[in-house]
């Protein structure tokens, strides 16, 4: 595993006071907090910052970390010294095991046994949370998805170790963005014979090339030729369950919405699919096309700017 320079991560000196560490953390948290930041790597960076702060804001953990000395470089291959932890008695840290799942192997190897004392007795395992991003099509057909999660577990010595585990999860037809799938007993294992916690999977859809999602409704931009919009015509439109024929009312303009009832995400009741009409002007790139436009200009008394008074 790689050595992590927590001082460097927070951008403070090794001699920084508790107040300076807190200030540096707050400033970085504002920039990278995943609820606030739109930066692509915000979540990973925020976890790293949180881990550094978790160690440096805690007098015991900071003292222990400092004991490693400054001979290590960030990213250097690291194994804890054999006498690591001797002479330190970690009280129960602020980090719960749920948060520990977000922390690095480096953190776990150093502070993994901090919750040993708290594990005595019988108690239910903690709930875990994860996100799963699925294609929109899964909501129409249902699917089984395989997810790999890192979860903290107690080993035989009572140390917290991060273990990867793979789950096959059924995605039911009709699932919507933002819904949760609760898997009973798939969170942290319980202690002393108590039941395990639950795993909550927060479901999100991958952005779709054609459809935009709002709740259980979908919308699709449907391009039309000017004559299809003006005269009204039956045209083909894609839907997630196959191509349909749609009657375009005569005199339609761009932006008009047509509702295809029940063609949204399945359910009781199912959502609707909205077709947002978009009139596309053909290119006047041939002599013939230019002539047709000129004929229209002459034959149709059409002023699109009449409402502007010009």
């Amino acid at each position: 595993m790689e050595y992590k320079d927590y001082y460097k991560i927070l951008g403070v000196e090794r001699t920084a006071t508790a107040d300076e560490i807190k200030k540096a953390y707050r400033k970085l948290a504002r920039t990278y907090h995943p609820d606030v930041s739109k930066q692509a790597n915000a979540e990973a960076r925020f976890k790293e910052i949180g881990e550094a702060y978790e160690v440096l804001q805690d007098t015991e953990k900071r003292a222990a970390y400092d004991q490693l000395g400054n001979r290590w470089q960030a990213g250097q291959e690291f194994t804890p010294p054999p006498d690591w932890g001797a002479g330190f008695e970690f009280t129960q840290g602020r980090a719960s095991t749920t948060e520990a799942a977000d922390f690095s192997d480096f953190f776990s190897s150093l502070f993994g046994n901090f919750s040993r004392q708290a594990t005595a007795g019988r108690f239910r395992g903690e709930d875990h949370h994860a996100k799963i991003v699925i294609p929109l099509e899964d909501a129409f057909q249902g699917a089984t998805r395989t997810i790999t999660l890192r979860a903290p577990e107690l080993d035989a010595q009572g140390r917290v170790v991060l273990r990867e585990h793979t789950l096959n999860v059924r995605i039911p037809k009709g699932i919507r963005d933002g819904q949760l799938i609760r898997l009973a007993g798939q969170g942290a294992p319980g202690a002393g014979g108590a039941p395990g916690g639950d795993l909550y999977l927060e479901v999100h859809f991958d952005p779709h090339a054609l459809y935009r999602v709002e709740g259980h409704d979908l919308s699709l931009t449907l391009p039309l030729a000017p004559w299809e919009a003006a005269l009204g015509e039956t045209v083909k439109a894609p839907t997630p369950t196959g191509v349909v024929e749609v009657k375009i009312p005569a005199g339609s303009q761009s932006g008009r919405k047509l509702r295809l009832k029940g063609r949204g995400i399945p359910g009781e009741p199912p959502g609707d699919l909205y077709l947002v009409l978009d009139v596309v002007v053909p290119a006047a790139d041939t002599e013939r096309a230019q002539q047709l436009y000129r004929t229209m200009a002459q034959e149709l008394a059409f002023n699109p700017r009449r409402a502007l008074g010009v």
Binding site: R26, A29, R30, H33, P34, D35, V36, K38, G50, S96, T98, R124, E126, D127, H129, T144, T166, L167, N168, V169, R170, P172, I175, R176, G178, Q179, L180, I181, R182, L183, A184, Q186, G197, D198, Y200, L201, E202, R212, E214, S219, T221
Partner: protein
């Protein structure tokens, strides 16, 4: 075990989570959940504490509130304002997306 296909309960707009389940999912006390309700952060159904039921959006809001509180040591009132603003930003971003516009442009 690795090949077993797990089927879970779906939590959506219907309020199904009890206050104990919500508190446990946030690694928090029931009294903290009550504080969020007082601030109008959660939209629970039911009259008294034992009858309160919560939906997926409540769990998402409560966990977000917990993260913000921890990161900034903000009080519940400040977190409520942050959450209101985030909800409004999300609503506007979603609206832009529905209009086919890129909110990050």
């Amino acid at each position: 075990m690795e090949h077993e296909i797990l089927t879970g309960n779906i939590i959506g707009n219907e309020c199904v989570l009890t206050v104990e389940e919500l508190a446990r999912a946030c690694c928090a006390e029931v009294s903290w959940i009550a504080e969020l309700i007082d601030m109008g952060i959660l939209a629970q159904q039911g009259e008294d504490q034992s009858g309160w039921r919560f939906c997926a959006a409540d769990l998402t809001s409560a966990r977000r509130a917990a993260r913000l509180q921890r990161a900034f040591e903000a009080n519940t009132e400040a977190v409520a304002v942050m959450l209101d603003l985030m909800t409004e930003i999300k609503r506007l971003r979603d609206r832009l997306k529905r209009m086919g516009l890129d909110p990050d442009e």
